[in-house]
Symmetry: C2
Subunit: 224 residues, 2 copies
């Protein structure tokens, strides 16, 4: 597909390394924090400290998109913030649907990190008649049967799965056939999606697992 003559908008020269895109959200978090703290400018050195990224790398990352700084001064926070938000597409809000109105769903709905970065839960669905009609925050739980039409009508592209693990794949299939493009899977079960859908499994336990390696290592050093 990369060799495809039709992908005019992706000339090899303009290709942005994936690592760059993955670091942008970190820069964003820190910039939001700094703005809140009342700062006006920030140098790549300071930004590097706060994000744990080499300052040279930050400067190099940014040049992929233009030059936003002032030599001898640094970067104006609101400008850089705006630029990165535009690059990522987070300069406008993104609506998402949440499936599952249990403990997990309620916790996700209440998660501050969503709104702070431009995501809005537009509807919560469940299939349990006991939950349908109840209130979570300022949304009323809908019957999941209405999901396909509402997703299509409102052109929603992001879905969050927060149901019991056994139901995860089934919910994913409904989301996919409704035209969802990005799925955030909060369950412990693996979900299969077609190639045009981006899947994020929220699996902090996998990360936890790899820290064990270092944990046992530092301890055996300590025992020496």
């Amino acid at each position: 597909m990369t060799g495809d003559g039709l992908t005019v908008s992706t000339p090899e020269k303009d290709r942005i390394p994936e690592g760059v895109i993955e670091r942008l959200p970190s820069y964003l978090s820190v910039l939001i924090q700094l703005r809140q703290d009342g700062c006006y400018t920030v140098s790549s050195a300071r930004l590097g400290e706060l994000t744990d990224v080499n300052p040279a790398q930050i400067r190099r990352d940014l040049t992929h998109f233009g030059s936003f700084g002032k030599r001898g001064v640094g970067y104006e926070i609101v400008i850089l913030l705006d630029k990165i938000q535009r690059i990522l597409g987070s300069d406008h809000t993104h609506r998402l649907v949440l499936i599952g109105a249990g403990n997990l769903g309620s916790a996700v709905a209440a998660y501050n990190g969503l709104r702070a970065r431009g995501f809005v839960v537009s509807a919560i669905y469940d299939k349990d008649p006991a939950k349908i009609g109840s209130r979570i925050g300022d949304l009323v739980v809908q019957d999941v049967a209405h999901l396909p039409r509402q997703v299509a009508d409102q052109d929603i592209r992001i879905g969050v799965i927060a149901v019991p693990p056994e139901a995860a794949q089934q919910v994913a299939d409904v989301l996919i056939s409704s035209g969802i493009r990005v799925i955030l899977n909060y369950t412990s079960s693996m979900v299969r999606v077609p190639e045009h859908v981006t899947l994020h499994n929220t699996d902090p336990v996998r990360e936890l697992l790899h820290t064990l390696y270092y944990l046992s290592r530092t301890e055996s050093v300590a025992r020496v």
Copy 2:
């Protein structure tokens, strides 16, 4: 510190690239699945398909720790599984404490992915008297005041924060002073930890954010 003559157990030659350690948990997940499916052996090619990692890379990763395969045959699943678990230290269970008995805490406590990979919630704490004494799964919610002694007595090294974001740092501080070594922060707020403590912020929204870049990109292609 790397040049320190005392760090005998980390000779430069034996240093394992971090990427290797980060991939091991993926291999583990797939091996567990394969064993469940009743398979006996697996080739690096097949493992590569299932984990989305180049087969040559898998073989190379494993040689850091020894040679576990049979030429012409592949890897015996139970053997490889066991080896990787030993490398990571997940061949025995790890107890952890969970702080916060609300929706989020309840969801974490019920999370299947923990037990499946050798983690056991050993206690749940809260500071709300209304919650203390109530039951979540087969644990009774304890007063957080008891946390320091219990963590020390039971030599627990992993703590999971699932409280309201305002309280996150305060809880982290208690965990740190109680001797916790790894913190998994499920709240949306940033937490500071000293260098000897490993912090994992569960922030799927950051990942979500970077997919927006690709989302808007594929769509502009589609519009051409």
